[in-house]
């Protein structure tokens, strides 16, 4: 009897689902995918390959934009050292006038104040190699009035005209701009909020501003309070190790370094996460002496410098999950790293037989670059169980400031592999 009954439910489905009839109509899009597959692509999943493609494209875009904005062609004498932060702020405010003066100016002339802040933002981001100059500029902006939506547009709009038009003669500026700029009181939280929103909205176009905003504490607090209130944060601990390629100019002269460390990831929403931790890294590199700057005057310049640096890398990254299905997760991340140079050993290579300068130079614990390195990464993670996962992460580290004693533009690219332990997870596994 029981057998019969079960047989009958089987029959119901067997008959009912035997022929889809009109329920599975032909779709041309499916054939297009089929044709692409037949044209020599591997028979990968359409969805998966699309995600991979989109991920790769996004990472490339970030990379290119980051490069354009953060790696200016000319190297100037701007001191990139950490200790120079304060003088930089003073210099800024000195140059463009104290807030009160700006206020007065903006009252008399709509453009002068906004233009000067636009100038400062633009000029500094263009000329300087140091992130600290950038963050000092952001601080300067805080005292001189928050940049609002309109200011950002102003900065962009005015740029081409700046050379031909003296700043204090142009009057045709929107009234909104003046208002935003003249509200200097620290209570302008709303405006700060606005500026934050706009900054993140145009983050793709202006990564410099985005990273600056990221670094300003009050703004950062406003970044994700709503989502974290609704979402129980999750924590995961990862051990990562990676080989990477270090290079100063292009990737022609490169050396392979090693990294190992612990990372803590906090999921602040379903898609967004924040990662920090500590990575102990050995970064050897070789560069032409031209890329190396030193206070010491060599009697005859060395041809090249080989360096071996032991670095403690403290990253602070945000990640966005673009794909999560069947235990496979794919996410894109960016953020800033602080380098603490634990040991720097430089060897100077001379071409002549009788070298006229020192052969080596060793430093310990002297240089640090707080939030001086931009991180870009993609992460693929595979769940082994509900608690453990393994991951692969191609990454790229782009300096915003000169690294080490030689203030070199030390880039690193590598692939990290790691294991992750989910301390608590928001969603119960199926």
């Amino acid at each position: 009897m029981k057998e019969e009954k079960e047989d009958s439910i089987d029959k119901l489905f067997s008959r009912g689902l035997n022929d889809p009839g009109e329920n599975a109509p032909y779709r041309e899009g499916d054939w297009d995918a089929m044709e692409a597959m037949l044209n020599g692509r591997k028979p990968k999943g359409i969805v998966r390959s699309l995600v991979l493609l989109a991920g790769a494209a996004a990472a490339m875009l970030l990379l290119v934009i980051g490069w354009l904005y953060l790696n200016p062609a000319q190297k100037t004498g701007t001191p990139p050292q950490v200790v120079k932060t304060k003088p930089q702020v003073q210099q800024d405010t000195g140059k463009y006038g104290p807030p009160a003066q700006q206020l007065a100016e903006s009252k008399s002339n709509a453009l002068s104040a906004s233009d000067s802040s636009a100038m400062s933002a633009n000029d500094i981001s263009r000329k300087s190699r140091s992130f600290f100059t950038l963050s000092a500029d952001a601080g300067g902006r805080n005292t001189a009035g928050k940049l609002g939506i309109n200011d950002i547009y102003t900065a962009r709009v005015i740029k081409p005209n700046r050379d031909t038009t003296p700043p204090d003669k142009t009057v045709s500026m929107a009234i909104n701009t003046t208002k935003t700029d003249t509200l200097i009181t620290p209570k302008t939280d709303k405006l700060a909020n606005n500026s934050m929103k706009v900054d993140s909205a145009i983050a793709e176009k202006k990564p410099v501003l985005a990273s600056v905003v990221d670094d300003i504490k009050p703004n950062k607090k406003q970044a994700a309070p709503a989502s974290s209130a609704a979402f129980k944060p999750t924590f995961a601990l990862s051990f990562v190790a990676s080989p990477d390629i270090n290079s100063v100019k292009g990737f022609s002269q490169n050396k392979v370094g090693t990294n190992a460390g612990l990372l803590l990831t906090m999921g602040v929403s379903k898609k967004w996460s924040i990662t920090t931790g500590a990575i102990y890294a050995d970064k050897p590199y070789l560069t032409d002496f031209a890329n190396y700057s030193s206070a010491y005057k060599f009697t005859s310049n060395p041809a090249s410098v080989s360096a071996s640096c032991i670095v403690l890398d403290i990253p602070l990254n945000i990640g966005y999950q673009v794909y999560n299905k069947g235990g496979n997760k794919f996410s894109l991340g960016t953020g800033l790293s602080s380098y603490f140079m634990l040991r720097e050993n430089y060897t100077f290579n001379y071409t002549g037989v009788y070298p006229g300068g020192p052969a080596t130079y060793n430093i310990r614990n002297k240089n640090k670059h707080i939030m001086g390195i931009l991180n870009l990464n993609m992460t693929y993670q595979r769940e082994i169980s509900s608690k453990f996962g393994v991951g692969v992460q191609p990454y790229y580290k782009l300096p915003l400031t000169g690294i080490g004693y030689g203030q070199v533009n030390l880039k690193s690219a590598g692939v990290a592999v790691g294991v992750t332990w989910n301390i608590n997870s928001a969603l119960k596994p199926k």
């Binding site: 089987d10 119901l12 054939w31 028979p43």
Partner: protein
């Protein structure tokens, strides 16, 4: 499609003729999709599996024995591709506990008047492991031993999963009978029109019958 036409298309496909490939694809699209939809979680996944299956068909067409029915050969490839897909997305899939099944009246299920979409929706709602085993046993007609080999599980697991799949389907059918035309609908909210013209100051509240009781 006549046999002659089919052979013409197959011989075209063997020469890698793109038009023949497209015509063959189009001719068996519905049949193949019907199989894949049963195994997949959604339509996108189904077309992904189906295309992988057709790729195998086109690449291995020289192995097709022309004396045997083409449809059966194609169908077997689609089922195998679905199983490959299932294996590659295998999670810890056998852990799901059986829901507390309410008592279900003995019904003659074969007489149920359920259309294709209702049945497909039910089968799609099953967990992937149950769905795969139910498909292989009930629709494709494989034995538990064969299924065990295919999915690399024991015969016992196959049997118990089939049983759980049937139980779940029975619950779904029972629910469907209670509210005809809807497989799964739970709505207790009263909907109040907010476009009242007579009294503009009317305050709008949403009353939930369940909580009010």
């Amino acid at each position: 499609m006549g046999e002659e036409e089919l052979y013409r298309l197959i011989s075209g496909c063997l020469k890698d003729d793109r038009l023949s490939q497209k015509l063959l694809y189009k001719a068996f699209y519905g049949f193949a999709m019907g199989i894949c939809l049963r195994y997949a979680a959604n339509r996108y996944e189904a077309s992904e599996i189906m295309n992988q299956g057709f790729y195998k068909v086109f690449k291995n067409l020289n192995k097709y024995d022309i004396t045997k029915p083409f449809k059966a050969w194609l169908g077997r490839i689609m089922v195998n591709t679905s199983i490959d897909y299932y294996r590659s997305n295998l999670k810890i899939a056998y852990t799901e506990e059986l829901d507390k099944a309410e008592h279900i009246n003995d019904t003659e299920y074969a007489d149920q008047n359920l259309n294709y979409n209702d049945l497909l929706e039910m089968i799609t709602k099953l967990p992937r492991a149950y769905r795969t085993i139910f498909n292989l046993f009930a629709i494709e007609g494989y034995t538990h031993e064969e299924i065990g080999d295919m999915l690399n599980i024991s015969t016992g697991t196959s049997k118990s999963n089939l049983h759980k799949a049937r139980e779940k389907l029975k619950v779904m059918i029972a629910e469907n009978n209670r509210i005809p035309g809807t497989v799964n609908k739970q709505s207790n909210d009263n909907i109040i029109s907010i476009t009242q013209q007579s009294n503009p100051n009317l305050s709008v509240s949403f009353v939930n019958n369940v909580t009010k009781q």
